[in-house]
């Protein structure tokens, strides 16, 4: 497993292979290129093209639009109450990411550092790790009951649940990372009379940065694209997320496929834009989050 060192830094392509890349295999390059264009980009191309057309241009679905109908986006924007749903989703995502990073890393740090010395923390570690085997679907029905009793079937409530439910996985991720941090720094800070909280936030927290990035990306992807939890927990039409709104409005689009696809593009666009800018970090983050 010496590979891990390589994977944890932000340049996944190892230096070693660079010098061997003198002779380019063009056949392979073109095969991979053609496959990427048709298989991966094809459905996305279809989505965008349909979103830009009007029904009269739909006889050949694949053709480029002769005339671009931006008003599809305007109509879809209004029909699905996009701004409200977007802000709801943004709120859940951003608040979740920030709170997850602070609270989960703190818990993970303490548990990892003291679990070998203290039975209680060791128990906590195994408690959280075993909770990873309980999928959301298993607790869904009783959770719905409990959440409604606490009046948490709204945006704030679901955000809170995301922060809590992310714990098992994030403790798993952070603990692998914390193990690699030498204790010398904390010991020095402790000698200087720093309090536990100070030690964590001043010394350890900044060192965990690469793992924060990974956790942030994974939490973001989870909450932004999640459908099941909003579906069962959120009921007020004002308190829906983008994914849930897409499901709810499906029937109202009827055969207006152009409008429906324009609304899909609206939902996909923020993630696509983010991907274009942070692609390298996202890929590195997801890789290091999974390969331990």
């Amino acid at each position: 497993m010496q590979a891990n060192a390589d994977l944890n830094n932000n340049t996944p392509a190892p230096r070693k292979s660079k010098k061997r890349k003198k002779k380019v295999n063009w056949t392979l390059t073109s095969v991979m290129m053609v496959l990427a264009i048709f298989a991966i980009l094809g459905p996305l191309y279809i989505t965008i093209v349909i979103a830009l057309k009007d029904p009269s241009q739909m006889s050949n679905v694949l053709s480029l639009p002769k005339q671009i109908h931006w008003e599809n986006f305007k109509n879809a924007w209004q029909m699905t109450n996009f701004p409200k749903m977007f802000l709801n989703t943004l709120f859940i995502t951003v608040v979740n990411v920030i709170f997850t990073i602070f609270t989960n890393s703190m818990a993970a740090y303490v548990i990892t550092r003291y679990r070998l010395k203290n039975k209680f923390f060791n128990m906590m570690y195994y408690y959280f790790i075993s909770a990873m085997f309980i999928p959301f679907n298993v607790i869904m029905l009783p959770l719905v009951k409990e959440v409604s009793a606490f009046h948490m079937d709204n945006i704030i409530g679901i955000t809170f649940l995301y922060i809590v439910f992310g714990l098992p996985q994030n403790i798993f991720l952070y603990s692998g990372f914390v193990k690699e941090i030498p204790t010398a720094l904390e010991e020095a800070a402790e000698m200087d009379g720093a309090k536990p909280m100070q030690i964590f936030f001043k010394v350890i927290f900044p060192l965990m940065k690469p793992m924060h990035a990974t956790v942030a990306i994974l939490s973001f992807m989870w909450t932004w694209n999640d459908f099941l939890m909003p579906l069962v927990l959120l009921s007020n039409p004002d308190q829906q997320t983008l994914q849930l709104a897409q499901y709810v409005f499906q029937g109202q689009f009827s055969t207006q496929y152009n409008l429906a696809f324009a609304s899909y593009v609206l939902v996909l666009l923020p993630v696509l834009i983010m991907y274009v800018f942070f692609q390298k970090y996202i890929i590195a983050g997801v890789t290091s989050g999974s390969v331990k």
Partner: protein
């Protein structure tokens, strides 16, 4: 690891400051309230006849026995296992092939990698809607124009509807698995290949004997995550078929959702959720054990 061992005697007996407990215990309690309690309550309900409201009594294992006699629920298990099996095998085989391709001496490697990873970013519900359109409108009209009988009808309205869902799942699932395999392949020291080249082995042998054992840990990760994920399949089914036609594409998760909120089935579906949990746990543990053993052997 070495450091913890070194440190251990020095700190032995020292009390852990209260503040450290405060950094774990509150969130641990919240987790217990919102995750463990619902889980335990679900297990509890599965032994009652509670309909979600009103009175209840214990019924023992009745809900579990009922489950096995209910053809809809047994079919949901059969469908989910079939789906998870095919999805896991196909996604991993294709992803491995793409990863090998991306790891070859190709140009624009980073660009291509970014493209292949793109589907991971997209929500499965939306991707499901797009594929529903492709299967329901685009392909049939294309099939009719070309007079290809097999393509002229919507696959989602046939007994092969699950294949349509499978195709969409593969399209999306490839992204993640490819990335992990690529990370594995890139971690292999090229000098090993150089040594092998001298021995004159062919590419297939090279892959099976050299590469595959080296990336075995990555194979394990992918397999475990794939199986777990596909046993939970939900979003794309809700987007594409709603579980139909008939109940042919109703997965366990869809069954729990659609039936669980019906009064008469609340307790039964609680039992279903418990069985699902046991299934996921068992499969994950077996997989980890078997694959770890094989890794050891291969390594």
């Amino acid at each position: 690891m070495q450091e913890t061992i070194k440190r251990k005697p020095k700190r032995k007996g020292k009390k852990i400051p209260f503040a450290y407990y405060m950094m774990v215990v509150p969130i641990g309690i919240l987790f217990f309230i919102f995750h463990t309690i619902p889980f335990l309550r679900g297990v509890f309900y599965s032994f009652t006849d509670w309909s979600g409201y009103g009175t209840w009594k214990f019924v023992g294992l009745k809900n579990y026995l009922y489950m096995f006699g209910n053809s809809n629920i047994t079919h949901a298990y059969w469908f989910t296992f079939k789906f998870a099996l095919f999805a896991t095998i196909l996604v991993n085989a294709i992803a491995l092939a793409i990863a090998v391709g991306l790891n070859g001496k190709i140009k624009y490697q980073n660009f291509l990698k970014a493209i292949y990873f793109l589907p991971y970013m997209l929500g499965s519900l939306i991707v499901g809607f797009v594929f529903k359109f492709i299967f329901g409108n685009m392909l049939p009209s294309l099939g009719r124009a070309l007079h290809w009988g097999f393509m002229s009808s919507n696959i989602l309205g046939t007994t092969h509807a699950w294949v349509g869902i499978l195709i969409m799942t593969i399209w999306q699932g490839l992204a993640f698995n490819t990335l992990i395999y690529l990370a594995g392949l890139q971690s292999v020291d090229p000098e090993i290949y150089e040594a092998a080249a001298l021995d004159g082995v062919n590419p297939w042998q090279k892959f099976m004997r050299l590469t595959f054992p080296l990336i075995a840990p990555f194979f394990t990760i992918n397999l475990v995550l794939s199986v777990k994920g596909y046993l939970m399949v939900f979003d794309q089914i809700m987007a594409m078929t709603n579980g139909g036609p008939g109940n042919s594409t109703t997965s366990i998760s869809v069954e729990i959702y659609t039936q669980g909120f019906q009064g008469s089935q609340f307790a039964v579906q609680s039992a279903n959720a418990v069985v699902l949990f046991i299934v996921v746990l068992t499969i994950s543990l077996i997989q980890l054990r078997v694959l770890n053993k094989r890794e050891e052997r291969l390594g």
